[in-house]
């Protein structure tokens, strides 16, 4: 094996010196501890070492087979949304110190703790809650954690969720809450899509630990009766959990102001690229109350004083709650989390500030309405299906045309149509979920309408 540029001590002479110091002839003496019967007796069937320029060329060649959303015009959202990422976000998350740090303590990693605290603070302000946890994997696992917190706090087993929620997210909650929770779906109003409050009243009982609401819903509409949902939950001694897409909060009342006890959501729109769904960031906020804090196993960064007057430090709140100390007595499956994205989200929120977020939410909503309006003018199409106000996404019904066929026809003309809903929501017929944000130019939307008009004719 020649000297490798990532392995400084692969120089034979250096290794000899070190082996001598250890007092062994060769490294095999150290590996002798691995039982002979299970030792690998052959070379791994892998390629030989490649120099950097070959690695680059090979991977670029493979990746070139992708057609990015700059090459096709995509109207996909459904849990991973296209948004413009300010250059500053990538600048900061490429900083080698943030990129390559891990779990150092506050004395060596002060900046990491401060950025985390600022992330927690800004999420807290966005959703109007006082306590925010360490970042999590994604919305779905954050919602699962919110559910498990509710089980612990109430000592009950049932979680009521809207039937309009993301089925993929529901599948994660089912896996992550397992047998400890009974998950029941609450119906929706066929005309508006809104959570059916009568059905909720029917299903809620003294067994209900929490009512979970998504706002905006997976199907794009805004739930406008969040306060009533929270009231009904509280009347029955249950908690109110709300899952949010954060950019909508530039315009919508935050869940903390309509009775939510726990808020979760997806931070990817706050400065993360789509990355094939591989750059997600879950967040979780709740009341600053010992009962809530004790019910979560997540790390929580608190501001603290130091020996020097006027200086800030940071400390973990009740560290004995976490998996690292409590092992099986805790309720978390998060170790290595998604801090680089939390730092990025803090950068994004600082850049936009209150006025930027407010304006962005309006721009998204206007473009979304413009698209829905153009599509609804096409004969045979209904957009949106529901009468409620929408944000960022809306449903389109194609009558008797299969979404799969529509999307194939669109793709031939360089457009990636919306997510096919016919498997997840068969009752909506041939429908798709379309996403329109600030990245979609007026021309993109008009081209979609023109081509769709031809396709469905």
């Amino acid at each position: 094996m020649p000297v490798h540029h990532y392995i400084p001590n692969s120089v034979p002479e250096i290794k000899r010196e070190m082996l001598k110091e250890i007092g062994v002839k060769n490294a095999e003496e150290i590996f002798a501890v691995i039982p002979e019967g299970i030792k690998c007796k052959r070379r791994l069937r892998l390629p030989h070492s490649s120099p950097e320029h070959e690695v680059k060329k090979a991977i670029e060649t493979i990746l070139s087979r992708n057609k990015t959303c700059n090459e096709v015009t995509s109207f996909l959202g459904a849990g991973c949304w296209p948004h413009y990422v300010p250059a500053v976000c990538d600048e900061v998350n490429s900083r080698s110190e943030f990129l390559t740090a891990y779990t150092g303590e506050v004395y060596s990693d002060l900046g990491r703790y401060q950025a985390l605290f600022e992330f927690q603070s800004m999420i807290g302000d966005l959703v109007a809650m006082d306590a925010v946890s360490f970042p999590l994997y994604d919305w779905a696992t954050a919602a699962s954690d919110a559910g498990r917190m509710a089980l612990i706090i109430t000592g009950r087993r049932e979680i009521l969720v809207p039937r309009t929620m993301s089925p993929e997210r529901l599948s994660v909650i089912r896996a992550c809450c397992g047998d400890s929770a009974v998950i029941r779906q609450v119906d929706y109003n066929a005309g508006s899509g809104q959570l059916d409050l009568e059905d909720l009243e029917k299903k809620i009982s003294s067994k209900t630990a929490a009512v979970y609401l998504e706002n905006p819903s997976y199907l794009g509409f805004i739930e406008t009766a969040g306060d009533d949902v929270s009231d009904i939950a509280h009347k029955h001694g249950a908690l109110s959990i709300v899952g949010v897409e954060p950019l909508s909060l530039g315009m919508l009342t935050p869940p903390g102001e309509y009775g939510a006890d726990i808020v979760c959501g997806e931070g990817q729109p706050l400065g993360m690229h789509m990355s094939f769904g591989g750059a997600l960031l879950g967040f979780l906020a709740f009341h600053d109350d010992l009962k809530f804090v004790s019910a979560t196993g997540h790390r929580l960064v608190s501001l603290a004083a130091t020996k020097r007057e006027g200086e800030f430090g940071f400390a973990y709140v009740l560290p004995e709650r976490t998996m690292f100390a409590a092992r099986e007595k805790t309720a978390t499956i998060t170790g290595t989390a998604s801090v680089l994205w939390a730092i990025t989200a803090a950068v994004y929120m600082s850049l936009l500030g209150p006025s930027g977020l407010r304006k962005l939410a309006q721009v998204i909503m206007q473009r979304c309405y413009y698209a829905a309006k153009l599509l609804s003018c096409i004969k045979g199409l209904k957009a949106p299906i529901f009468s409620s106000p929408h944000f960022e996404e809306f449903t389109v019904n194609f009558g008797n045309r299969k979404v799969h066929d529509v999307n194939s026809a669109l793709l031939k003309q360089g457009i990636q149509g919306g997510k096919d809903l016919s498997y997840e929501f068969p009752e909506l017929g041939n429908s798709a979920l379309y996403c329109v944000t600030e990245v979609h130019a007026k021309e993109d939307i008009e081209r979609l309408a023109t081509i769709l008009d031809g396709v469905v004719e």
Partner: protein, 516 residues
Amino acid sequence: MKAEEAHAYRAVTWNEPIIYALGRKGRQGFAIPEVEKDVKKAAGLALTYVPEKMLRKEIELPELSEPEVVRHFLRLSQETFGVDSGINVGVGTCTMKYNPKINEMLARSSKAIDIHPLQDAECVQGILELMYKLKGWLCEISGMDDLSFQPRGGAHAVFTNACIIKAYHKLINEQEERDEIITTVLSHPCNGGSPAVAGFKIITLYPNPETGIPSIEALKAAVSKHTAGLMITNPYDTGVFDINIEEYVKTIHEVGGLVAIDQANANCVLGRLRIGDSGVDLCHFNLHKTFSTPHGSCGPGSAPILVKEELSQFLPVPTVEFDGHRYYLDYDRPNSIGKVGEFYGVVPNVIRAYAWIMSVGGEGLEEVSETAVVNNNYLIKKLLKIRGVSLPWGELSPLRMHEVRLSLEKMKQDTGIGIEDVNRRIVDFGIQRCFTSHEPWIVKEPFTPEPTEACTKEDLDRFAEVFRQISDEAYANPEMIREAPHNCSISKVDLSPSTDPKKWAMTWRAYVRKHR
């Protein structure tokens, strides 16, 4: 001032305010594109669609211009100590290896980041091909048959494996009977925590005081018709390889259970041990440890799980497959445990890990493990010459794999200075603090160096030299250590908010409410 002091390390100290204290009202760091007039005309004022009670009144966020935001976060980054910043030799269990820059460039290219997870398969053949090929490589490295990239970290992977163990027993109608997972106390805590979340009762085995590993008899006494499986780390974070592994597998299989190995410490066995060859049913790798993807200040990581063929049916959906012509996502898996996270996992780390394996190659993987192990044993030899440092289970063998759990118990007894104090002092020298141990502390006053293959001999010598200097201080001038740190961005922190609900503040708004 002595010359040595004048040239000593000083951490960057900006005393950077919390961002809420920066900026001025009216500033904004990013311009939002205007909406065209006719769009506005057709769409109307967005606000009018939303009922009054759902319209937001206030947003309390800082207001900064772009240069202010850049300066603030640049300063915070400078007050953070990454692998690229300096010596991270003490940070065991974490495998703080070098994160190659070319891998960043590739993982951040437009062809990698501007793709949506639900795009038509024809548009994402490139990324699917990389995922499929890396699956093949990781199966070859581990001796397993199939894989899922969905888990985002080790604890998530162990949880996913626990779900598969549960699904396996459920399929053979034994779940009621089989509700116990056996683990060992020196395994990463998630091997207890994650299966507990999946609904299992946990039985924890303790190590034999002489060997550092549990006895076969202890395992035999713990197994029963309730045993669903064994979930352990091997080698342990102590650097001790559990030589009973074959016997464990036999014992667990005899009672009908499955064995899952947490391969967080795989960096010392690449090309030397394929865990699948020992009969193990499931395992996982941490790409952010063994396969060089950056730790990102604590994630995003990536922890693919690997299983034997019989368990492939239970993997989370979708899996990445190839039909000879095209790559595709396979959702048609009726026995799948469903999903454990949204979409397909931390895909950018798949690209990075692929690039890293290509760069080091098959023989290079063996060199990685060999050098990691040599580096560690060289460091052990040096550290054991220092007063107050001891090696648990050292009588049996002084050799360890790629990391080692050492103890400062003697130093603590002699001087009152323990590992927490030393960790506050070592950072004064521009060296990242040592990882201690997960709870419970089986070894007293523990610390756990793990040099990895990426450090230099000079780094190891420097680390040992600093440790010797701190030991000398402990015996001669313990006050120096008690009051540490002295050269860091902040001084000793008042930890009382950790336990006092009236004082703690996890957000600025809570801080303002409680302290102002």
